[in-house]
Amino acid sequence: MTFAYEFRWSVLWQHPYGEWMLQGIWTTLTLGTICWFLALLLGIIVGTFRVTPWRPLRILATAYTELFRDIPLLVQLFFWYFAAPRVLPAAIEQYLYRQVPNVEFWVVVIGLSIYTSSRVAEQIRSGVQSIPPDQFFAALSTGLTHFQMYRYVTIPLAIRIMIPPLTTEFLTTFKNTSLAMTVGVLEATFMSQQIEAYTFRGLEATTAACLVYLVITMLVVLLMGFVEKKLAVPGLIARGR
């Protein structure tokens, strides 16, 4: 069995393809990280609203979560890029589209952060609801206000429970950044396709893209494992081993 295809791995680091690939990797890293931190911030807020006793906050948070969770990410990106600026006054819209450098990148930041935050909110909700209610009653009975209870009891406990599912969300955010290429963001997948378009070396280019994402996500898993160990409260969560 012989492969009729000749591999030419050098296209990946030849000038200018090597620079393209590095630029793409850098964009993926920055896009993924910025989106993740924004999503975490928004997600924690919305997730907490989902479990408060006050109905208006709960309704607001539920609407937010369902809306952004149920629409495909690609559709949401197109919405933010092509449709959303229409509601702004024409002058601001033109400024956004023409003057802001890299507007495509920032539009994806908005779209991906909001999408991921709705999923993070759900993780938060399930994390909080998995804490036995006795903890809350105990906290309230020691004289803490609701807000203090959230701050000192609920959220710290919930975060430690939720680190594994949140790690998955972090990884998914990086993988979702590949959709940004459809609105013109020059990230790793786009660049690998660009190399393929110029050199017709499809196999090498796609393998490069796979490796890039594998390496990034494995680094994330390592990082989160480290965070999990650091944050662990001894005896708080049952461990398998």
């Binding site: 492969f3 589209y97 023409r98 396709q193 660009q194 378009a197 017709f200 499809g202």
Partner: protein
């Protein structure tokens, strides 16, 4: 543990044997054996391949592909399944190379560079790279592009043309090139005001303009930045199939079917009125081997 490794190894080997299947035999044998003629068509290249109001693939190249289908059925004396697959400037060459489609009938420019990976039929149309702008934008040619936002489709000759102009310094300061996946997205961006100009082949721009809700707002600007002869993509080193298709195209030129299809899509009552230039008429006459 050993069982898992064995299972993985078997699976991997099985995959390896599937891959070289398309390396054997010519396209004509493949079509005869499988009874299926698969054609790649576009869905955003008006009027060569686009989606009609009834959600069907229609266009100049689609009609030409239908003629190829009829000719193949006559040749093999049996009915063949006619399958259309959507391609875009990025996927069209890889899909022909790996055997997913037998021929790509769209609006592909025949270039020397592309000849390294695939083969082309004889030229079926001629155009060049131009710019689509909104009326009143003040852009008359590529020289007005410095600092402006220009769109193009990934993998197209037009994207390469703008990139080369930027790199060579012919557009100073460089134009901001935004790359989309299909022309329909780029046109939407132009319409929304995200782009100052969208760059692709002149005939496709005329097509996008004709299909726009308000054609008077747009104009096609600039002379031809590049020369783009259209041809259909076929697999490398497959002369039997390529000869068959070429001879079919020549037959169509000689017996008037080509003129009919041209008139339907590019004639005065067509989707995009675009009279055949005198040079193209002469070119066609010379191209039709006796």
């Amino acid at each position: 543990m050993k069982k898992i490794y064995l299972g993985l190894l078997t699976g991997f080997l099985a995959l390896c044997f599937v891959a070289p299947v398309f390396a054997q035999g010519g396209t004509l044998e493949k079509i005869a054996k499988s009874g299926e003629f698969t054609v790649g068509v576009r869905d955003g290249a008006i009027p060569f391949g686009f989606i009609s109001k009834d959600n069907e693939h229609v266009g100049f190249s689609v009609d030409v592909a239908k003629e190829f289908h009829k000719a193949l059925e006559k040749k093999f004396g049996k009915s063949l399944k006619f399958t259309l697959k959507t391609t875009n400037p990025k996927t069209r060459i890889p899909l022909v190379s790996n055997g997913t489609i037998d021929i790509e009938c769209g609006s592909t420019t025949h270039t020397v560079e592309r000849e390294e990976t695939v083969d082309f039929t004889i030229t079926v149309f001629m155009t060049g790279t131009q710019l689509l702008v909104k009326k009143g934008s003040g852009i008359k040619s590529y020289k007005d592009l410095p600092g402006k936002k220009v769109g193009a489709a990934q993998g197209s000759t037009n994207e390469k043309a703008i990139r080369d102009l930027n790199d060579k310094g012919e557009i100073k300061p460089a134009a901001n090139l935004v790359v989309y996946q299909e022309h329909s997205q780029g046109f939407l961006a132009l319409e929304r005001g995200i782009l100052d100009a969208y760059c692709t082949d002149g005939i496709l721009l005329a097509g996008m303009r004709a299909k726009a809700p308000n054609p008077d707002q747009y104009e096609v600007a600039g002379g031809f930045i590049t020369y783009d002869p259209y041809a259909y993509i076929v697999r490398e080193n497959d002369s039997k199939f390529r000869d068959f298709i070429n001879i079919e195209i020549i037959k169509m030129i000689k017996d008037g079917r080509y003129a009919q299809i041209y008139d339907k899509w590019l004639g005065p009552n067509g989707v995009v009125p675009y009279p055949m230039s005198e040079e193209f008429k002469i070119f066609q006459k010379l191209e039709a081997w006796p």
